[in-house]
């Protein structure tokens, strides 16, 4: 069913506490999720907002990602824990006519990873970011899961899941094969599970010159698991945007991240645990690239992007070899 977004938002304006909405524009053209920007206006002034909605059906039981209602609950819980977020304004209800959707405040700043690691305007704030990310992750990990419906995933579970996917492609990539075997053999002793963001990396953070991390975005991969998983995903070389000498997101050093985390949580995570999960992160990203290529190879999608991303598998392979050479 086609939904007229402008009309829907207009009808919703009073519930948002405003008279009208204006400047409705589509930001992303993702297949599974739409992002729209708009401005709510009223006697009290104007407020920039973001609508996130899923155009198609969704099965939370079967899916890897969360529903938008769960995402809304996570945003609110993270805010209560002190983490910077784009605060929730409205969780859409069926009678709003916008489908599965929520509305948040639009936070000003940069999300493009490449700009964050190279643009001179972030030069002063860049050295602060790794420590700040450590503190924010500690805040997120302190959220009591409570009533938020989240799945669990540990290292072996993740390896099982991604190895099954990899085997289904029928491809032979020695480095991925070696990584599966090695990571299976060297899985760290489990730690108590915490609530994870699940996709905490450069590219999903809004950065500005004064606050550093102004908001953490994209909560849909949140799950329960090893705290080192979140700390390490930010360090995967694919998210350093060319500045590989700065292991944390292309902007910082491991020690600042780990110190920030320890200061805020009281929990010391050894670097070796982060490096293990970093390798697992590279391996997962490699398999995801293969998955995106396979959707082209099988004819499900035709966009030129999909086959091209298949050539990003080799970046994860060189990162994995480097990690294995260094003894992780």
């Amino acid at each position: 069913m086609e939904v007229d977004i402008s009309e829907g938002l207009q009808a919703l304006a009073p519930k948002l506490g405003f008279a009208t909405v204006a400047e409705v524009q589509r930001l992303s053209a993702g297949a599974s999720m739409e992002t729209w920007a708009f401005v709510a206006e009223g006697p009290q002034g104007r407020r920039e907002m973001i609508l996130r909605r899923r155009p198609g059906p969704f099965d939370e039981e079967a899916a890897r990602s969360t529903s938008l209602a769960t995402e809304a609950a996570l945003i609110t819980a993270a805010q209560a824990a002190g983490a910077p977020v784009a605060p929730l304004v409205w969780l859409c209800q069926p009678e709003d006519g916008l489908g599965e959707a929520h509305i948040t405040v639009r936070i000003a700043g940069e999300t493009l990873g490449r700009k964050i690691v190279t643009d001179p305007r972030f030069e002063a704030i860049r050295p602060e970011l790794a420590g700040q990310c450590g503190r924010i992750l500690a805040q997120i990990h302190s959220i009591p899961p409570g009533t938020i419906p989240l799945k669990s995933a540990d290292a072996i579970g993740e390896l099982d899941r991604y190895e099954t996917l990899y085997r289904s492609f029928g491809t032979e990539r020695p480095i991925l094969e070696l990584a599966f075997q090695h990571l299976r053999k060297h899985a760290p002793e489990p730690m108590p599970e915490v609530l994870l963001h699940g996709d905490f990396r450069n590219g999903n953070l809004i950065i500005n010159e004064t606050d550093g991390v102004a908001a953490v975005l994209d909560w849909e991969l949140s799950h329960l698991g090893d705290p080192a998983e979140d700390l390490s995903w930010l360090c995967v070389n694919s998210w350093r945007f060319g500045v590989s000498s700065k292991p944390v997101g292309g902007f910082g050093d491991y020690q600042d991240l780990l110190d920030g985390y320890a200061a805020a949580s009281g929990i010391e995570i050894p670097l070796s645990r982060v490096r293990y999960w970093q390798a697992l992160g590279s391996l997962k990203w490699g398999v995801m690239c293969l998955l995106m290529y396979s959707s082209y190879a099988s004819g499900v999608t035709t966009s030129v992007e999909r086959p091209m991303i298949g050539r990003r598998v080799s970046e994860t392979e060189i990162d994995l070899v480097n990690l294995l050479e260094a003894g992780l």
Partner: protein
């Protein structure tokens, strides 16, 4: 095979044309056109560097495995030995061979990818 124009020149010509029309395209198409030009640059590098990279990989893998064959066969055999546990990260020469092979592949796929310090 004819000498001119070479396949890499033909691919290059198309990539240049795509670049020339990119500024006139709407944002989504401009993005996809940039991806398309990148695709062609991979194809061009594979034409120029692929045969040599393949030959070098065959030599390294044959030496490591003590077997002969083409890249596909040798890669499959290596995967089998890794799966069975006959070979692992401690196997002498394994990581060096894998690194040399993947370095050649990155030179085709993403020559500017920075992997130092990863």
């Amino acid at each position: 095979m004819i000498e001119n124009p070479r396949a890499d020149e033909l691919v290059d010509a198309v990539a240049k044309w795509i670049d020339s029309i990119r500024p006139s395209l709407p944002p989504r198409d401009a993005f996809l056109a940039r991806v398309a030009a990148n695709v062609l640059s991979v194809v061009k590098r594979e034409i120029l560097l692929g045969p040599q990279a393949d030959a070098a990989a065959v030599e390294r893998l044959s030496q490591l495995l003590g077997m002969s064959g083409d890249v596909k066969t040798l890669n499959a055999l290596l995967c089998e030995r890794l799966r069975s546990g006959d070979m692992n990260a401690e196997t002498p020469g394994l990581l060096a061979a894998l690194k040399a092979n993947i370095t050649d592949q990155i030179a085709i796929d993403q020559p500017h990818y920075s992997a130092t310090g990863s």
